[in-house]
Amino acid sequence: MNIKNRLDFNAAHTHDNDLKIIELCQAGNSDAFAYLVEKYKNMVYQLALRMTANYHDSEDIAQESFLKAYRSLHQYKPSYSFSSWLYQITLNTIRDRIRKQDLTASFSAQPENYQEAGSPLYPNSAELAEDPEERQIRKQNRFAMQSAINALSLSHREIIILRHIQNLSYYEISKILNITLNSVKVRLHRARVELKDMLQEQEQENKE
């Protein structure tokens, strides 16, 4: 608890605080790492969940990513924010998984699973209170969106999720993906066009 008192979790100082925690970890205080896990677990988990659309895999990927981060903490360079670095590690973990086993297949093979409680596409509690008809539409839209995102190529999926789901800036994305700002813009445009066309097609199919 000592550590917690010494740290000010003010957003403006978040990078400095992360550095202090990392220094503590490097000095052999492995408990300090728990604060980083606590702080970034939702970010890592949600990235995995949007990329894979699978609860179980996402929990696994998130754990593995934190372990990898811990093991390679000595390679962390303070010129990166800890979150950008952690994003890189998480994306690598996801890429490995997707390469090894087709996670996409496990999602699209069960198009109905969004209706179950516990599915990533199941409405949250606020939405459950809504008008049932509206809820149904929302659910369909969400399913359509997740299906379309899942059908994107890996690099397009990544950039859409970083920008629109994780709400990162172009600059942060360029750091994480190690590409220029202009490449971020170009890739994002291509990914959006692909996504837009796919959603439009789906809509037309539904009408017919």
């Binding site: 492995s30 728990a34 896990v37 677990k41 000595h74 390679q75 969400r142 629109h164 994780q166």
Partner: protein, 226 residues
């Protein structure tokens, strides 16, 4: 003329929706949209995409409640069992049984001794060159049917996994790469398939990396020039 203007406007729709335009540019687009049904339609499609993405991002899932505890438990377990854990993993990866690995001897060995009693069992293999750099060959035995890639990372390449891959050119299970290094002390590791970190099974010595794992250590005391 009209078409060209439309194309120009449509190129800026995304920037408009992301609020990346100046006030003047915004006005220019809005004025065009009022008078152009084609662009209006295109604009509406883009707007719908941005709205759908925004509402999709509002999901606020969290991992299981004991997530942090479980991660920390794994870290603790790994730290406690680090040494045997690594040994087991290496021996699983090695195509040959590790009969020739004399750990105690390897740890206590100092480089000067190695220099004069060079022994083919010990890697990395060094050759001393007149340019002040020493050729160091890193090698590892691994079954190519189980391993796709091996890279060496260490103090000499900023621990960058992309810089120095090992290759198994003649498919005999011996992966190698040769680097030119200045005299000095370097900690290094092998990365297998981009994710498994293993210390060089035939390193001269090992040190705790402070995180429960062991890094291999390479010492090049001074360049021996002919």
């Amino acid at each position: 003329m009209q078409e060209k203007e439309c194309q120009n406007i449509q190129n800026y729709i995304e920037d408009y929706l992301e609020a990346r335009l100046s006030a003047e540019e915004k006005i220019e687009i809005e004025e065009h949209l009022v008078s152009c049904p084609v662009c209006q339609k295109e604009f509406a499609r883009w707007q719908e995409l941005f709205h759908s993405l925004a509402s999709f991002s509002l999901l606020d899932e969290e991992p299981s409640p004991d997530f942090t505890g479980r991660v920390m438990q794994k870290i603790e377990r790994e730290e406690q069992t680090a040494a045997p854990g690594w040994l087991e993993r290496i021996s699983n990866l090695l195509a040959l049984p590790r009969v020739s690995l004399k750990w105690g001897a390897a740890v206590t060995m100092v480089l000067v001794a190695v220099l004069f009693s060079y022994n083919a069992f010990f890697h990395p293999v060094e050759q001393y060159c007149p340019d002040g750099l020493t050729d160091i060959t890193f090698s590892m035995r691994a079954d190519a049917t189980q391993v796709q890639s091996i890279a060496v990372v260490g103090d000499f390449n900023d621990w960058d996994p992309n810089r120095n891959p090992l290759t198994d050119v003649n498919h005999d299970g011996l992966w190698t790469t040769t680097l030119k290094l200045e005299p000095g002390r370097y900690e290094y590791m092998f990365i297998i398939d981009g994710q498994k970190w293993v210390p060089d099974p035939s390193a001269y010595q090992y040190v705790n990396d402070g995180f429960g794992n062991k890094n291999a250590v390479l010492e090049i005391s001074k360049c021996v020039c002919n």
